[in-house]
Amino acid sequence: MEFIAAYLPSAMMNDQTISQLPLALPEIVMLCMASIVLIVDLFLNDKTRGGTYILSQFTLLALVVITVMSFTQQKSIAFHGTFVRDGMGDLLKIFVYIVTFTVFLYSKSYLKARDMFKGEYYVLGLFAVLGMMVMISAQSFLTIYLGLELLSLCMYALVALQRDSIIASESAMKYFVLGAIASGMLLYGMSMIYGATGSLELATINAEVMKNTDNIVLIFGLVFVLVGVAFKLGAVPFHMWLPDVYQGSPTAVAIFIGSAPKIAAFAMTMRLLVDGLHGLHVQWQDMLIIMAVASLAIGNIVAIAQTNIKRMLAYSTISHVGFIMLGIMTAEKGGYTASMFYTIVYTLMALGAFGMIMYMSRMGFESDKLDDFRGLNQRSPWFAFIMLIFMFSMAGVPPFVGFWAKLSILKAVVAVDMTWLAVTAVVFSIIGAFYYLRIIKLMYFDTPQETSAIEGASDLRVMLSLNGIAILGLGLYPELIMGLVISVM
Amino acid sequence: MFDFITETALFKEYEVYIMTTIYVLVIMIPLFVAVAYTTWLERKVIGAMQVRIGPRNVGFRGLLQPWADMFKLIFKEIILPSGANKVLFVIAPVITLASAVAAWAVIPFDAEKVLSKVNAGLLYVLAVTSVGVYGVIIAGWASNSKYALLGAMRSAAQIVAYEIAMGFALVGVLMAAGSMNLGEIVLAQKGTNGLLDWYWLPLLPLFLVYFISGVAETNRAPFDVAEGESEIVAGFHVEYSGMTFAVFFLAEYANMILISALASIMFLGGWLSPFEGVHNFLWLGIDMHALTAWVPGMAWFFAKIFIFIFLYLWFRATFPRYRYDQIMRLGWKVFIPITIVWILVVGFMVLGEVSPWWGATA
């Protein structure tokens, strides 16, 4: 070390960066491993491609271990205020790894059946995880934006990975164009805030904002930042891309888009609105209320009209995003905790629902119609039951964990004296319960259109069962996750 | 001598502009003369290599041949093809020539003889030369001709491919010298071992890659697929005639000389004498440093340029034209990896103070 240090320019020697590197250990490991997977994959052929898969899964597991080992409640800011390591970030990162691990596991046989079992899927997936990690640990506008772009770029490519599918290319184009517009909005807003505060670092911005909370330039910037965030989260009225992308992309990609990035998007919202612009919470509360109510209404009502289950899940996502926004809207610690809990629970449920689609799909057949679920109970009673768990949980029926997630949000909203908002949310949830229950009705009370046995890979079956049991188990013991979330907030 | 001019108030007010213009002319006019005689040299050298005589009728040993060619081209009609984009058609050769000439602004001829001591000189050269490709592309497109467009396409792809390798090679030089100022790059090669101190030795792979990429960048044989007279007639300048063609011709040779000058500066120590600091030549006790001290730096510089020019001509007489996909393969799959690896090696050599190039002794 000293040998190198002797040759470094004085500016670099006096810098703290090198001594702060261990804080970013998970990011560094991720980057190295993603690059190694990229290179190793070059030397594998289609028969030995499993090596890429195993290496990727190993990376994610290793990262879980590394992050758990170095888990810290202490908030430390590094790299000249561009990076932050804190309990919330660490916990969210651990869930990102676990969710991505599950995504890779679910999608393996799906990809194999569609000639998509290529190294690029895993390399881009790992880089997307790196993007999420950067977003989660971002402490300045610069890193938030760069992390977001890294994530989005991987996602655009993943959606388009099935090149010969016209619908996939179309949804990739839509995703890309709208995503680019959203990034533009976000950048525009950031530049306004930079103009008003003279800093890109969230802590400095917060201090500046506190001095002068009714600055019109700041509010102007806030509006654009919020538009960008809403685009990425998929909140109404910036939700148009979501159903098309979910429906158009291969299910193995849709499950990824629909799960882990939501955790990162939640972290980004928290960093921007709470860490950076908390001084403007009176303003962003109003905007969030409008978007949350609109998301709940549009998401739940339009989902009823869908016949494609991926599209239906997209609208269901929109309504769940409404709930997450409600929690953040409270601008209270209780609300943030509830939102974080909701986000994590939602990703687990989304994983399961998409996992079921992949479980029922097979070569040349995409099981993404509602009708495909008809009479599932007669074909596979166990997995019909698992699907029942996911649907009940998403609808918010006790004792499943989805119920506790909704309950904690509603509690937080009532705690800030917005009972009318809580009532609205409950009403729309009840409307939304209709389409979740419809699937259960199709599975249990209708006759199947085809009676062939479902062939699912054994690892997929095990993981899917575990996923379902987790939803049930966490519903019985919600404090398992809730306790973790409360401890880091 | 020119006191009566330099004392006037008008001169004093605009001194910078007037003097700069004069310096520019002092560089440009010899450059164009050099270009003219490079064409003569080319015909003579290739003639000799192919056991022919070359031009001999105009002037003594054909020495006036370039002027005859020039006058012929000046008085020829400039034909504008129907359907051509007239503005772009005429601008294209000018862009090519301008980029070839503008780069000379930062070329140091001797320790103090340089028009502009730009700190980012290396970058400036790269940027300015990279603009030259527009001349070729615009010419190909504005001509409204299939052959011309094909030539332009080939040229665009080729130049982009080789510019990366060239840029990486220059990154190695920049790391070795620790400066982007061309004058300082030359001075960094000064030492006590004469030509062994120059960067061609530690940066040998980069040197080769740079010069070969330079040949490709100038669209010269064996990389002249953009012209490819046997397949696409004359490529991008098939529709050009008279003076517009002459400007392309001029630019091509000016670029050749430029690449040769840059290679000399970056890898062969510019104006430095090959016997710099050699007091005991080959252990024979001959003080070559003192013996050659009278030779001006510029002479060494021009001699080095001449070597590269000769290589250009030699290549043209020797190698058959590369096939297009082979050119792409060479650029992307061979040169770029070589340069990337060698940049790493250079980094370690600089860090390890490998003598005699780096460290306290240099």
Binding site: P9, A11, M12, D15, T17, S35, L38, F79, H80, T82, E120, V123, L124, F127, L130, V134, S140, L142, T143, L146, G147, L150, L153, Y156, A157, A160, L161, G195, A196, T197, G198, N215, I216, V217, L218, F220 | L88, V118, N119, A120, L123, Y124, L126, S130, V131, V133, Y134, I137, I138, W141, L149, A152, M153, A156, I159, V160, E163, I164, M180, R329
Partner: protein
Amino acid sequence: MTGVQFLFYAFAAMMVFCALMVITVRNPVRSALFLVLTFVSCSAIWLLMEAEFLAITLVLVYVGAVMVLFLFVVMMLDININRLKEGFVKYLPVGIGVAGLFGGMLTWLLYNVEAADLKTKMRTMYPPSAKPADYSNTEELGEVLYTVYVYPFEIAAVILLVAIVAAIALTFRRRTTTKYQNPDQQVSVKRDDRLRVVKMDSEEKK
């Protein structure tokens, strides 16, 4: 007006003009060429601000490489302008409406703030002091990039890597029908591999 100011306004005017031409010219190749000119004027303005590294890099990267490839593609594609312009008139009122609404809102917003008030709210940015002749913009930038901004800088590098991976993943097709030659084998071919000298008895003339 000083010389620098004159140059600034000249290049700024050229830049705005070219940028306008980029979006109004009908021919895509000319549009791309105007974009090149926009970049060049922008680079000149940066030079006036003594940011020579940025200025030169803009020319080197955008003009010298990115736009060349862009032109390459634009020339290859036979873009049908008339089809692109289809529906232009149909959507024009909507476009004007949205733009008008947005512009109106912006004006309203800014009009409601006193100009002086806005000045106090936007941070005052003073022009940087002129640098000495031996000041190296490149060196300064390098130092900042590798210390203060090293983390964002590395992420940007990763984004570029992902862009390469994504581009290759989306476009690379190994076509089995292509006749492919291996240059190594071509070069290392021996005479005996190709040529067989056959001994034949000479035939007698009948």
